[in-house]
Amino acid sequence: MTAERVESVLELLTYTKGVTGVVVCNRDGQPIRDSFQDLDRTRAMEYADMAAELAREAAPLLYADDTLDSLRVRSRTSEVIIKCHDEFLLVVIQEFSE
C-alpha cells in the first residue's frame, strides 16, 4: 500500500461520523501517526499502550492455527476498535451517547 493510500484511508476513518480518534502504532505501543491535535501526543500514547497491551494479552488465547484479527472494547462512553496486523495496530476510537 502506497503512502497516499494510507493517508486516504486514515483520512476516511478520521472523518467518519462518530469517530473521535485514529492511531496507528506498532506492536510495542509506540504511535506512528495519529489524528489527535495535542502536540505531545499524550492521548495517542495512551491508546497505543492500551492497544498493544490488549493485543499482547489476547493473542495467546486463540488456537495455534488461529490468528487475532481485531478487538473491540466497549465502555460506557466510547468503543475502541483495535485492528491487528503482524507489525502494526490500527486503533479507532468512536464515541456515542446512550
Binding site: 492500551m50 494479552e57 488465547l61 487475532l68 481485531s70 473491540r72 460506557r76
Partner: protein, 116 residues
C-alpha cells in the same frame, strides 16, 4: 442478571444459543468458576479454560479503560480471530462469554442484551 430467578437465566441461555453461528456459552461467577455452559458435559475442562483466559483478559481491558478515564467502565469486549469471535460481557457478579463462528456472511446480527 437475575440471581434468584432460574427461569430468567434459562431464557437468556436459550435466546443466545438459538442464534445462528453461536457455538458455545459460559456464565462465570466472580471466583472464576463456570456455573453454566452449553458445551457437552465432558468439555467442562474447555469451559474452565475459557473462563480463566477470558476473565483475565476482561479484567485487563477494564483496567485499561479505567486508566484512560476514571469515570468510565468496561461494558463489552469482543475478540475476533480468523475463525471465531468471543464476546465477553462483564457484570458485577457474573461474566458472560459467548463463542460464535466467524462466517463469510458478516451480516449476522448479534442481538445480545446490553449489560446495564
Amino acid at each position: 442478571m437475575a440471581a434468584t430467578g432460574g427461569g430468567d437465566i434459562e431464557e437468556l441461555v436459550k435466546q443466545i444459543t438459538d442464534h445462528p453461528g453461536v457455538q458455545g456459552l459460559i456464565i462465570v461467577n466472580t471466583e472464576g468458576i463456570p456455573i453454566r455452559h452449553t458445551f457437552q458435559e465432558q468439555s467442562r475442562p474447555l469451559a474452565v479454560q475459557y473462563c480463566a483466559l477470558f476473565q483475565s483478559l476482561a479484567m485487563k481491558a477494564r483496567t485499561a479503560v479505567v486508566e484512560l478515564d476514571n469515570n468510565n467502565d468496561l461494558l463489552f469486549l469482543r475478540v475476533r480471530s480468523k475463525k471465531h469471535e468471543v464476546l465477553v460481557a462483564p457484570d458485577t457478579k457474573y461474566l458472560l462469554i459467548v463463542i460464535q463462528r466467524v462466517g463469510n456472511d458478516d451480516n449476522l446480527p448479534v442481538n445480545i442484551k446490553k449489560t446495564p
